[in-house]
Symmetry: C2
Subunit: 212 residues, 2 copies
């Protein structure tokens, strides 16, 4: 199947296109060219067309794309035509920030639980969601049919949390702890190291320094 | 120059390899094969070799790589053989979490200032760093020779903050606000939308659902 070969970079860009199209749709813009999409997100028109071509024919040559239709297509491709239930383990600064991050809800991600082992935090609430102890993880995941777990604990605890998530029946893990963790092969894992983003900037800064 | 064509995905992976090599080096591991690197970070040995080949010959066929040397090479490629000064605008949950994020300091990123327009926050400190009003941005950036600014404000304020950063002489911006912002062409910009990470997971979950 063609979709099995799609590069992750394409998925990331689709997500960016969709966010941009959502903004345009809210503003009442009804049609757009690949060039305008490219300009809006800082890419090239050829890249936009190539990314979209993985999934079939969307636009009309010379006319462009219908903003709403294209966005609905992308949303479906990304699996966002439904809501996803998410829990967060770690009620520190990062976990609390993620619990309140508006970008998740806008895209259909519903935070249904937050967990911490610190007994001083258990029973408190973040954004209206009570903090539960980690030994309640499996029960809450199964009762609420949670799909995705976010790890927001310090690195030394991340593997234990991943193990508990795997055992709970969660299908996918997003790991913010800056450490390599391992999970069973049937579980989707994505590591987010926030420093990587700064490193891409410094790589580019060094590159341009060489040019000058 | 060859380095100008390096895909961003390669830079991201180099950053991941470097983090893994740092862990191994701390454990006293002195040499490693591309296969072992691939296994450690969840990639393929061919990908590891291809990524490293952009920057010359590092390993010895049949022997592998010296962990410390390879890591030093990558660190230099990423521009991390020096410290970088970083400020954060937005002292809400996300900004506070980022100020305290250990993964930045480990990689040589020093948070030298945090800013907010909320007068209730100005004068308080996060992680020992006093919160300053945004009208002090330019002064603090110039006095401290700050390289990078992180935007951690709500979406409606992001463009104003980007403008202030551009005006202050900052060289690169990392934007966490889920909105498209524009900056002058000589300024490096990277947008981090945390929801994108969840969308890659849901894309993969949907893909595998189709297979079953």
């Amino acid at each position: 199947m063609k979709t099995l070969k799609i590069p992750e970079a394409t998925i990331i860009r689709l997500s960016v296109y969709s966010r941009y199209l959502t903004q345009l749709d809210k503003k009442g813009v009804s049609s757009i060219s690949s060039g305008e999409i490219a300009e809006g997100v800082g890419g090239s028109p050829a890249q936009v067309r190539k990314d979209l071509a993985y999934f079939g024919e969307f636009g009309t040559r010379g006319v462009g794309y219908n903003v709403k239709d294209l966005n609905q297509h992308i949303v479906r491709i990304l699996g966002l035509n439904r809501n996803w239930k998410v829990i967060i383990v770690g009620a520190g600064n990062l976990g609390s920030a993620l619990t309140q991050y508006k970008g998740f809800k806008e895209r259909g991600f519903e935070i249904t639980g937050i967990f911490d082992n610190d007994l001083n935090k258990v029973g408190l609430a973040v954004n209206g969601i009570p903090i539960s102890p980690i030994n309640k993880l499996k029960e809450i995941v199964q009762d609420n049919k949670v799909d995705i777990g976010i790890i927001a604990v310090p690195a030394p605890y991340a593997q234990d949390v991943a193990d508990a998530m795997a055992e709970s029946g969660i299908k996918a893990i997003l790991n913010f702890a800056p450490v390599v963790i391992s999970v069973p092969p049937d579980l989707e894992l994505r590591n987010v190291d926030l420093a990587v983003n700064l490193e891409i900037l410094t790589f580019n800064l060094e590159l341009h320094k060489d040019k000058n």
